[in-house]
């Protein structure tokens, strides 16, 4: 399909693709949104009309070429149309995170100098009004949902439908201008600007061209054989590059249908009703769904539970092989078919995954058990690796070559290079144009030949050619023996145990590796309750000998698994401490997005770290804590330092 389309030529901009879809798939559904309990839908030709009306309305409001238009709100067809309408008049859409605070929005909006804002509802309108004093270039705002806004008396506030109405009524006068602007768009015109989340410093505006978006959409759609008849559910933040590529890039390229949930809370019901064929979710979502299934199975009748346990055993054994097309015995196939009828089918239906042909997860490491659970049900869940600067796709797993510990092979058109220090570099047609108003960062990230530094360290597995990401490059170091030290690689393995909430591994330049462990109060507390272990506080539970023994067994299991990896075998944890307090963003130990801040933890707990390296068995320490209301206090504790068994790599080679 795509070859003939490519041959048709001229598909070098979003309006061009939209026009093609409106003429070629005119009566096929393009967007659906559940509203008032019913799925409302728009065909491609209706979508085109709506977008054109809005684009004409924007012209009427005085939008000039090159203007930035901020789009803020939850996933709704109208807001996707806003972005496309902006492109039609030569403006640049800038989707912003809807849960951003007013100050964060003030930064991004004044950075890009947005003249216009299209806001979803009163909440977003209020935020913009709060900061409009700081926005020198801001002129007018368009709002979608009028609820609560009737009383607002503001000349620069217009309802979305009124803008479209104005556009429709002045069509004759404005259409030539719109057509002229569309004609000027080419492959190098800016398609969209997306702000990075800004975990390290201020958010940066990533400028993506039509070439970036369309080339990436084209090659990734071919990679996964995406079709015009596919359905996706758009529920991830519109400001995130992934959503832009799935719901705008690939949706336009393939002409498939984007479905928007009724509200954030109804996402799971809507997912079930739509049954998407192409689905993306971060690992957290899959994890929550699995937990819900397991909790509900605990309450099921014994008969149902036994059936479930039996068939899940079958699925775990042969499910992934069947999915990958590997040989499986006839008996097992029959059992799996029975399971499909009795358990897997209904379960997939409940989860909304009955029709999923291609499913992706990315963003963080996914626990192998979670990953295998979905795959064993016959859901084609895969991993990909990407970032905003690459227009998402760097590597992805092809069908049939899926594993939980790799992120796949390079996507079509992408070149990959691993630097001396292990950092991954890539070059592709999707490589971003620049960081807006930030030539310095652009030069730091992208070299003259177009290679982009990912900031992640990884290696290409020789046996399969798959990329494996081990850590952030700046955290990777060397152990005292000169071997590679990748703390996150070990931490992720530890965190896959439900009992472990958070962990920090040390060892850069040290003779051996050590770890801090935070127990998960929910999981461990639940266990304590079932085993009649009384505890009064987090601290007491964390110091319980049986808890320590359990954590020790987890650490040793991880050591055994780390030892399998010749490159990283020196990262085994020799000694560990279960911390007396939970690492907390209020104490500065985690970022607001719950990521570990190593330097601060190293400083704050230096006495405990030293004790782990000087051979002591216990350490008494006092730690300052900040309560939620800002008051400060101190907790003191005597902590056990535990030794964990490690595998010698030599022994492992001998055992083979």
């Amino acid at each position: 399909m795509s070859n003939t389309l490519n041959g048709a030529g001229g598909l070098t901009s979003v309006p061009a693709l939209l026009h093609r879809n409106a003429t070629q798939f005119g009566s096929a559904p393009a967007y659906r949104e559940k509203e008032f309990g019913i799925w409302q839908s728009w065909t491609w030709s209706q979508t085109n009309d709506e977008i054109e009306a809005l684009a004409l309305g924007l012209l009427d409001l005085g939008v000039a070429e090159g203007d930035f238009i901020a789009v803020i709100g939850r996933n709704r067809p109208y807001l996707y149309w806003s972005m496309m309408a902006a492109q039609m008049v030569g403006a640049v859409p800038v989707p912003l995170y809807q849960d951003a605070s007013a100050e964060e929005m003030a930064y991004t909006m004044s950075h890009c100098g947005a003249r216009f804002v299209i806001a979803g509802d009163q909440e977003q309108v209020d935020k913009v009004m709060e900061i409009q004093g700081e926005l020198t270039e801001f002129e007018a705002m368009i709002y979608l949902d009028p609820r609560g806004l009737r009383k607002y008396d503001n000349a620069n506030l217009t309802q979305y439908s009124a803008v479209q109405e104005a556009g429709r009524s002045k069509r004759a006068a404005l259409e030539p201008e719109m057509k002229a602007r569309i004609a000027k768009l080419n492959y190098d015109s800016t398609c969209v600007m997306l702000y990075t989340s800004g975990t390290t410093g201020k958010p940066k505006g990533v400028v993506l061209s039509n070439r970036n978006v369309i080339e990436t959409a084209k090659s990734s759609s071919e990679f996964d054989d995406l079709r015009q008849t596919d359905d996706i559910l758009a529920y991830l933040p519109m400001a995130w590059v992934g959503d832009f590529i799935f719901s705008v890039g690939q949706a336009l390229w393939c002409g498939f249908c984007t479905n928007c949930p009724e509200s954030a809370d109804t996402m799971h019901t809507d997912l079930r009703e739509i049954g998407p064929t192409y689905y993306f979710a971060p690992p957290r979502v899959f994890e929550n769904q699995l937990t819900n299934v397991m909790i509900r199975m605990e309450d099921a009748s014994p008969m149902k539970k036994r059936l479930f346990d039996y068939f899940m055993g079958v699925a775990r054994k042969v499910g992934p092989s069947i999915l990958d097309g590997n040989p499986v015995s006839l008996i097992d196939r029959i059992k799996y078919q029975l399971g499909e009828f009795a358990i897997y089918g209904p379960l997939k239906n409940t989860l909304g995954f009955s029709r999923v042909r291609v499913g992706y997860t990315a963003g963080e490491a996914i626990g192998p058990e979670i990953f295998d659970f979905y795959r064993s049900l016959g859901i084609n869940l895969k991993q990909l690796y990407g970032q905003t600067e690459a227009t998402v796709f760097i590597t992805a797993q092809p069908d049939g070559e899926v594993r939980s510990d790799t992120v796949g092979i390079t996507c079509p058109g992408v070149e990959l290079r691993i630097a001396e220090n292990g950092e991954v570099f890539y070059r592709s047609p999707g490589v971003f144009v620049k960081y807006y108003k930030n030539a310095e960062s652009t030069a730091d990230t992208k070299d003259a030949e177009g290679w982009v530094a990912t900031g992640d360290a990884g290696f290409i597995e020789e046996s399969s050619g798959h990329l494996r990401i081990i850590d952030r490059a700046k955290d990777v170091g060397q152990t005292g023996n000169g071997h590679m030290f990748a703390p996150k690689y070990v931490e992720n393995k530890l965190k896959f145990f439900p009992n472990i909430l958070e962990t920090v591994v040390f060892g850069n330049g040290k003779p051996y590796c050590t770890a801090f462990v935070n127990i998960d109060l929910t999981a461990v507390g639940n266990w304590a309750e079932r085993n009649n272990i009384a505890y009064a506080s987090y601290q007491e539970l964390a110091g319980h000998p049986e808890v320590l023994a359990t954590i020790q067994s987890h650490v040793e299991e991880v050591n055994a698994s780390v030892a399998q990896d010749a490159m990283l075998s020196d990262c085994q944890v020799h000694r560990f401490v279960v911390l007396h307090k939970q690492l907390d963003a209020d104490d500065g130990e985690l970022t607001r997005t719950q990521k570990v801040r190593r330097r601060i933890i190293e400083e704050k707990f230096s006495d405990i770290i030293n004790a782990m390296y000087d051979g002591s068995d216990t350490i008494s320490t006092t730690t300052e804590v900040t309560y939620e209301d800002g008051r400060k206090g101190a907790i003191s504790a005597t902590l056990d330092i535990r030794d964990a068994a490690v595998q010698t790599v030599g022994a492992k080679i001998a055992a083979e």
């Binding site: 509203e35 008032f36 309990g37 019901t269």
Partner: protein
């Protein structure tokens, strides 16, 4: 007082219309107990009118008089200028008065949607048999009513529990469902009996937001009983204060707040909150 005027303008610029309901010298007795003693006040179109008072002040009795459930021994209740005869509850509903209850009174076994749909009953004209057959007019009617119900579900942000049986919902959501059902009747006067009772701060904030936007969006006249003072003062246009069955204050929240009788009787000694 405002009795003679056609209405007034609120501080936030809403036009309040003429009197919808007027209570004239109401006295209500249960045997020898005088629950309400000679009280007069009015409720105007488009306003949020609160009745406050300490426990046992007679607030709920007053609301029951307004809703027509109790008939006062003395005094007149004028609804839209007409003296109200003794009525059955369904006749009150047909007059366009809807209410919620202090102790939630929903159909526990039914879904949220079905509960909201019961609020539409006064707007349905087809009979039981044609509804059972669900052909022609009955079908059209249900579709139209379902749309109204769905708009209210959307308005109160309870889409996610549309199909959930009410019995499974937490208290705060049940309160919201009850509000949805009352709103589904498209009432011209909505009576809320302690809408915030037993709620946490967040739920109270949500409820306040809904009450205000309801009034704003649909222009619904709202009379509410509440003993959370902070909430009442923020929400209401005018407040009636009762104590031991007597009216001890009536006016805007500011007037009431500075009324010495009210301070003495209800708010008591100033303390930190």
């Amino acid at each position: 007082m405002l009795d003679q005027a056609d209405g007034y303008m609120t501080a936030d610029g809403r036009q309040i219309g003429p009197v919808v309901m007027e209570m004239k010298n109401i006295t209500l007795r249960f045997g020898g107990v005088e629950a309400i003693k000679n009280i007069s006040f009015d409720i105007r179109e488009g306003e949020v009118r609160a009745i406050i008072g300490p426990n046992g002040a007679g607030k709920s009795s007053m609301l029951n008089v307004i809703s027509g459930f109790y008939v006062p021994q003395d005094g007149q209740v004028l609804y839209k200028g007409v003296q109200r005869p003794q009525m059955r509850p369904y006749q009150v509903a047909q007059q366009g008065i809807a209410r919620t209850f202090q102790n939630i009174a929903l159909f526990e076994g039914m879904s949220v949607l079905d509960n909201v749909m019961t609020g539409r009953l006064t707007h349905m004209k087809t009979g039981m048999f044609s509804q059972a057959l669900w052909k022609g007019r009955a079908e059209k009617e249900e579709t139209a009513n379902r749309e109204v119900a769905e708009r209210i579900i959307d308005f109160l942000e309870i889409q996610a529990i549309r199909k959930t049986p009410v019995a499974r919902l937490p208290y705060g959501l049940k309160k919201r469902v009850e509000l949805a059902r009352a709103l589904a009747a498209e009432p011209s006067l909505l009576l809320l009996d302690e809408p915030m009772a037993g709620m946490n701060v967040e739920e109270k904030e949500d409820m306040s937001r809904f009450i205000l936007s309801m009034n704003d969006e649909f222009g619904t006249t709202i009379a509410l009983i509440e003993h959370d003072m902070g909430v009442v003062m923020d929400l209401s246009d005018r407040v009636v204060v009762m104590d031991y069955g007597k009216k001890i204050g009536d006016g805007t929240p500011d007037e009431v707040r500075n009324n010495q009788a009210v301070i003495d009787a209800y708010l008591g000694v100033v303390h930190d909150e």
